[in-house]
Symmetry: C2
Subunit: 667 residues, 2 copies
């Protein structure tokens, strides 16, 4: 019965997303120039997602065939493919609207910042509410058709794994794409030829704008969708042993997720372009959603009569949302102490800029990790009041409450690529200055929101992986993971190694992709006559195609690495080593991802700080140095760092899958 | 009785070191110009080490007073202060000879590369054999005066902690010093003014050369001395529970250490400047020492009649020495695939150079970690043949055999700063071209040896920390460390965080130090008339002093952080959390240190590859980009990376100290 309510809320969320999509599409698309540019971006994005989809489909079909050997294999396949499909659908839907909202935002910017702001935000809600709607509907249907017994477990795991797999592809492929294009475009365009950002003469601009959509939009939404789904999966798995004695514990996470959707919906009312301070807009949106969720969750906890101490676990998850936003903003915000330090260091050259940027990123890991540690301890201890065995359930609940606000976070996040694109379209379509002023302002806002939501994505991934880890131990019937056992130690070392190797693939892919792109752009400027004078058009499509091929080519190795490592470790060294691998991997990846994302964001904002006229301003040597830092930071913050989120979740779900197969499905 | 032999070998080693020192000092010091430059470097180095010594002394005295509250506190103090003093003595002695061997190497370079090579190597042996001699003598005396009973344990721990504490200071202080000076000197000298390396007109050259001594020489030797001592301490602590039933197990590590000294002595005969291929020289020296050690260790294992399976543990430790050298060389060597990749990426600018350099460093962590994991598993499994409890002893034995070749490694390593200085002195004293050709060749050799020995230092630190971790669990009477226990999980997250925060302090210190130095150098070129024309002398002393003050000022925070964190975690969250902290810290620090050291080395050699005439050669845009990469790599490879070695050991010994105090000394 309670599940029926959840289903209704899921459907409402999906409907809300579709309505927002309809509203967006109906808005005027802009003048001929804007349409032309937007069309090129849309075409490139769609082409990329289609080709990426084929690679994923091939991968998924192979896996689905393998699953058929399992008992009830076809049922697992249904769940797995549904999980994969809904994840892809979220990414696709969100992106399809984003590539339409961009020109509409640019067009309406003529009529002031407020209207443009709302156009972009409404575009963002499509992704946000589609993600939570699809996730919740999928899981509730699975739970409803099959009552939660050990037999349902492989299905839930399959669903989570499907979401995980697609997320890894979207994050890795999108990440490589977006930064190859961005770095390549900047290197020749800004550094060699002194062209401004998004100058239509630069053959790489369209690819750069496509990158925003396939990376920041599709990649990010698949990532957070995955966190959302696998967190619920983890909580449900943890709840299974209590299902008979206390069925409410199974319903609780689903209800918390539902309340999160309602809170996100109501919280939308508080996202307003009130002042120039973008941070305010952000905080009021997030803050009010958190507050509403807290009230609703309190009520639910009370009504379910499962014990009010669980509410402390809920609170620790909700507070984490605010804390991670605030901390990320403190370290990487537009006028943050560290940003100014890095900008100041740029006066010594690119080398010192990067040294200080890396130092800032290293330092920025402190509070987020501490916050997550405290949340883990508080949620565990408060649930333990009801008995030692319930402690881990508390961790799952904290993770669910945190991720329950996914819709709000994704909305705010998608605002980033939309406004970024709107700026690009305004620039490329030679829009009037007052229009560009508006899109520039929104773009700056979007940059901040994009950076700060990363803190949520990374922290959410870490907490959800921790919950998955606990669920794994349960699924594998492991009651202690003894770090003094050398086989566990071996697993821990290998686990700590994984994020480093995984990111090396991504960093190298971006380096190579950007390199190839630089050559191509230089070639176009050499061979296409009149390009520099704006008399001839560059061959955008060629660059888009190159970038696509590079991203897809470099997608396979990290993907196989992430999927095969846990399988190999599990089969060769056993489940204890696999447990060790998770123990080593989760914290190391968490800290490394924070370091990478925040280093990049700090160096990015340091560059913008210089561009705002400090330490010499645009065109000065300091600016050139800051651009070097920004270039280094690009793949750190938008490729390697975020992809680690997907990596830890996919490895955790595969581990559960392995454990689950051995324990439930094969017997 | 067996200990007496060990004592004799320790004394022989120390004597060998002193003889080498005497031989070095008696060689002619060179012409007036060389003397003058060498004197300035010597003065700067001595001044720095004295001032650093005072800071350490203050710190050590406070700790010694605190220890007095313990039972037998004054005895612990004796051990602690001896450990600290011998560590400092090693660093001091090695450095004192290095700052004399440098000008003598430059002077004798007139007479060919062979004589110069031997002068530098003999200088290097002073550090190598002093370290192992002092370490062995100290420990044997402790063991001899007090038979190994639970009561001796706090003494052994105290000795190890003394060595650890000084190492941390030497690594951190020396690391900040050397790279502030190096980066600062390069930024203005090479980049702004186009001066060659070590140009006497650059006010920062003397500081740069001082840095080689206090960082690469004193810092490195204190670090490896520490690894040597604490590894023996760990093995002895692990052996204690078996001491009554099998006293041989206590003697075994001491004897292995002794055999290592003999092997290192004999192995010296194989270090010859046979060909241009510096790698050959290196491998033949290391390879023969490993081979001799293997034979001797086999004999000892047989004669002690403790079981031949232990020899497998020994072998895994010895092979690790070769493997870590080979792997580091594979990734970072002068013509390594990754080096060429990074150099090629420099064609796209400083940004892509650093992106590829970081990618290379990330990637380079794979084999070293795997090698250590295999060594841990093999040594554990082979010792377990004699019963499950002996497994961990095997890990201790592997670590001891690896570190038993410390003398050889330190000799080869110290060759680096000596030849680096010799090159600097030749340049600054305007030596003839053929002399500079010889010193340049040696300098290039030294750069490679310095880089490859880092693999040993990092791997050795990781393995010795693992042994310490096992010893800690024993000392704290912990039989399982359950990663599923959230308090342990909390410890693991905090542990994984530590190396990131710790390195952030160091990176920032270098950034700030270099910044200040750049300002000062610019000031001198502005205010001292005729400096650029070589008619006036720069104020070297001012720069040396500034760098000293910066290093000492920035030493305190990371030091306190490393010392206080385990204490706080242990007191506030308990010993289980402290155990978790070690579990999270050791692998994360190991991988991070490898990443940092190898990224830096790769970018350094990529720059040299470009300077050798590739991709445009010296002065080209590609070269400028490669210099940016080298600048970023400098603090990664010579400050933050190596300091992590000391950090993990000091935190491990403090943890043992805490556990030891609670279990043995207070009761």
């Amino acid at each position: 019965m309670l599940f029926a309510y959840a289903l209704v809320i899921g459907v409402v969320s999906l409907a809300m997303s579709l309505i927002a999509a309809a509203i967006t599409v109906r808005k005027p698309e802009g003048n001929k120039d804007m349409k032309r540019v937007a069309e090129a971006i849309r075409e490139g994005s769609r082409a990329y997602l289609h080709r990426q989809g084929k690679v994923i489909a091939a991968f998924a079909i192979v896996l689905a065939i393998l699953f058929l050997v399992l008992k009830d294999g076809w049922l697992i396949d249904v769940a797995f493919l549904t999980g994969a499909f809904t994840s892809y659908l979220t990414a696709y839907l969100g992106m399809s609207v984003a590539v339409r909202a961009n020109s509409r935002t640019a067009n309406i910017a003529e009529r002031g910042v407020e209207k443009a702001f709302y156009t972009a935000i409404i575009g963002g809600t499509v992704t946000g509410f589609a993600a939570v709607g699809l996730g919740l509907i999928g899981l509730v249907l699975l739970l409803n058709y099959f009552t939660l017994t050990p037999h349902t477990i492989p299905l839930i795991i399959g669903f989570g794994f499907g979401a995980s797999l697609v997320s890894l592809f979207a994050r890795v492929g999108g990440g490589i794409y977006t930064k190859s294009a961005d770095v390549g475009a900047d290197l020749v365009g800004k550094t060699e030829l002194n062209l401004p950002e998004d100058d239509p003469r630069n053959p790489a601009t369209i690819a750069d704008n496509v990158g925003d959509n396939v990376g920041d939009c599709a990649g990010m939404s698949a990532d957070v969708y995955e966190s959302y789904v696998v967190t619920l999966v983890a909580a449900l798995l943890i709840a299974v042993p209590f299902a008979i004695k206390a069925p409410n514990l199974v319903e609780y996470p689903i209800l918390l997720a539902s309340m999160g959707i309602i809170a996100s919906l109501l919280g939308l009312a508080f996202i307003k372009p009130r002042s120039n301070k973008v941070e305010r807009v952000l905080y009021s949106g997030i803050g009010s959603a958190v507050l509403i969720a807290a009230i609703l969750d309190f009520a639910i906890t009370y009504l379910l009569r499962i014990g009010m101490y669980y509410f402390l676990a809920v609170l620790s998850g909700l507070l984490l949302v605010i804390l991670l936003f605030a901390i990320t903003d403190y370290y990487t915000g537009r006028r943050a102490k560290y940003v100014i330090k890095v900008a100041s260091a740029a006066q010594g050259g690119g080398g010192t800029d990067v040294i200080m940027g890396l130092a800032a990123g290293l330092h920025s890991t402190f509070w987020p990790v501490l916050a997550v540690v405290v949340a883990i301890l508080v949620s565990f201890e408060s649930a333990r009041v009801y008995g030692t065995v319930y402690g881990v359930y508390g961790i799952g609940i904290a993770a669910v409450s945190m991720l329950s606000l996914t819709a709000t976070v994704l909305t705010i996040d998608s605002f980033g690529p939309i406004t970024d694109n709107a700026g690009g379209i305004a620039e490329m379509s030679h829009a009037k200055e007052h229009v560009r002023n508006v899109t520039d302002r929104l773009d700056a806002m979007g940059n901040t929101t994009k950076a700060t939501t990363k803190g949520f994505a990374i922290g959410g991934a870490a907490l959800s992986a921790t919950a998955l880890f606990v669920a794994f131990a349960q699924a594998a019937s492991i009651s202690t993971i003894d770090a003094l056992n050398p086989i566990v130690t071996a697993g821990i070392f290998i686990g700590a190694l994984l994020p480093f190797i995984f990111s090396s693939f991504l960093m190298e892919a971006v380096g190579k992709g950007a390199d190839a792109l630089v050559d191509e752009v230089r070639r176009q400027f050499k061979t296409i006559k009149g390009l520099m004078q704006g008399k001839a058009k560059p061959d955008y499509a060629k660059v888009v195609d190159m970038t696509t091929v590079n991203a897809l080519k470099n997608l396979v190795l990290p993907e196989l690495f992430a999927v095969l490592t846990p399988i190999l470790v599990g089969l060769l060294l056993g489940k204890e080593a696999l447990a060790g691998l998770l123990v080593g991997m989760i914290p190391a990846s968490f800290v490394l991802a924070l370091f990478m994302a925040n280093s990049g964001a700090t160096m990015d904002n340091a560059k913008k700080y210089v561009e705002a006229g400090n330490f010499g301003g645009k065109g000065s040597d300091t600016h050139k140095a800051a651009v070097v830092g920004d270039t280094v930071g690009d793949p750190l913050k938008d490729t390697a760092g975020p992809a680690l989120n997907s990596m830890i979740k996919v490895i955790s779900t595969i581990s559960i899958l392995l454990a689950g197969i051995f324990v439930y499905a094969l017997i």
